[in-house]
Subunit: 214 residues, 2 copies
DNA sequence: GTCTATAGGCAGATAGAC
DNA sequence: GTCTATCTGCCTATAGAC
């Protein structure tokens, strides 16, 4: 164990925080939880992230970077708009099916936790906690939502122009609805304890965007 | 002030708890917050609701009852499926535009709160908090989601049969997607600080369900 | 029913040694 | 960088008087 590697430690903290925030929300985990999972003390975490707001911003920013990278990949590797949208939906589905304790070392059997629960897109979780978020974290959440909706709107517009997609209204409105449906479906699927609910909702929205459908 | 009216006091507690839970989530408010708003002490609240789980169940159940009443009204008063769906969307929009402090007495200027934030459907808020919810509250959330999706599926099926709606897939899948989109749109709209985002998303999904659209 | 008083625990955060 | 130790404040909850 390399006891001195700030980058690694910070990343490990963020990994643990991400898993916890995606399952329990911004107020649902503490420095104590992180410390236990990463294997250091809370004071050490404060060294890397002075306040929880700093952690929150770093978390949402890193997550946004990852999603941006993934959508850029879809732009490169997928041939048309429908395929890109399917790829985006699959991206979120992967979050939903990633084990909640898929990083960090500890946290074997929950001592007093209600029970396990699936992960949800970090954007949806922090949007739910919006009222209690520090200002800077709010800004990061807004940026994440805007970026995703803008990317979807662009893909939607391209698909319509190419004739591979058909839908009423503006691409922006459709993008907001699509993003909302996917994020909402993650919450519904988790509450139902059935990832199939997400798949069904995602497939339906995508089908509704098909040129010959509706 | 009638100092002895259990029904009224319990209702006042639930009113305050509802407003807080819709803005800040299940873990975002305390007995102390409620006590301050209702004008009694935390011990008195424990008299009406022994534990927070009891409060949570009562909260979600009462909310579900109210929505059930509203959908039953739509069944009675609206002539066709599209109109009923518009009414349902308007129902949720009303939640979003209801001031967060639309009940209880106190809570004038927030002393250390990040800022005000809109309400969101209680079902969406508690679904976000799902991992941290006591078992009985989880069950109540599941029931709420199921009931709403089932109602939407029934309306969707009737609309398709009557030719007033057209959509791909099963009514159940469409209902899940529709519900997810509306709930998700509330979160997006609040994060954006713009209720218009909800309206745009809701209008789009409803347009996508029109017989001639897509 | 509502109160005062208090328990016992966890939260985020800091000081200072190593 | 990481630690021990500690502070202050909030949380849910209970005991017992009125």
């Amino acid at each position: 164990m390399p006891p001195a590697d700030p980058t690694h430690t910070a990343a490990a903290i963020l990994d643990a925080a991400e898993a916890l925030a995606q399952t329990r929300g911004y107020n649902g985990f503490s420095y104590r939880d992180l410390a236990a999972r990463v294997g250091i003390t809370t004071a050490s975490i404060h060294y890397h992230f002075p306040g929880k707001a700093d952690l929150g911003v770093a978390l949402m920013t890193r997550y946004g970077d990852a999603v941006r990278g993934a959508t850029a990949d879809l732009d490169r590797r997928r041939p048309d708009a429908p395929s890109r949208l399917r790829g985006y939906a699959a991206l979120l589905e992967a979050v939903l099916t990633t084990p909640a304790d898929a990083d960090a070392g500890a946290a074997p059997a929950a001592p007093a936790a209600p029970a396990p629960a699936a992960r949800v897109c970090l954007g949806a979780m922090l949007a739910s906690d919006f009222a209690t978020l520090p200002g800077p974290v709010r800004d990061a959440v807004r940026t994440f939502v805007d970026e995703n909706v803008r990317w979807l709107a662009r893909v939607l517009a391209e698909g319509r122009a190419a004739g591979t997609l058909a839908f009423p209204g503006t691409p922006a409105a459709a993008a907001t609805a699509l993003f909302s449906a996917l994020e909402g479906a993650m919450l519904v699927a988790r509450a139902a304890g059935d990832a199939g609910r997400y798949r069904a909702a995602a497939a339906w929205v995508l089908a509704a965007l098909a040129p010959a459908a509706a």
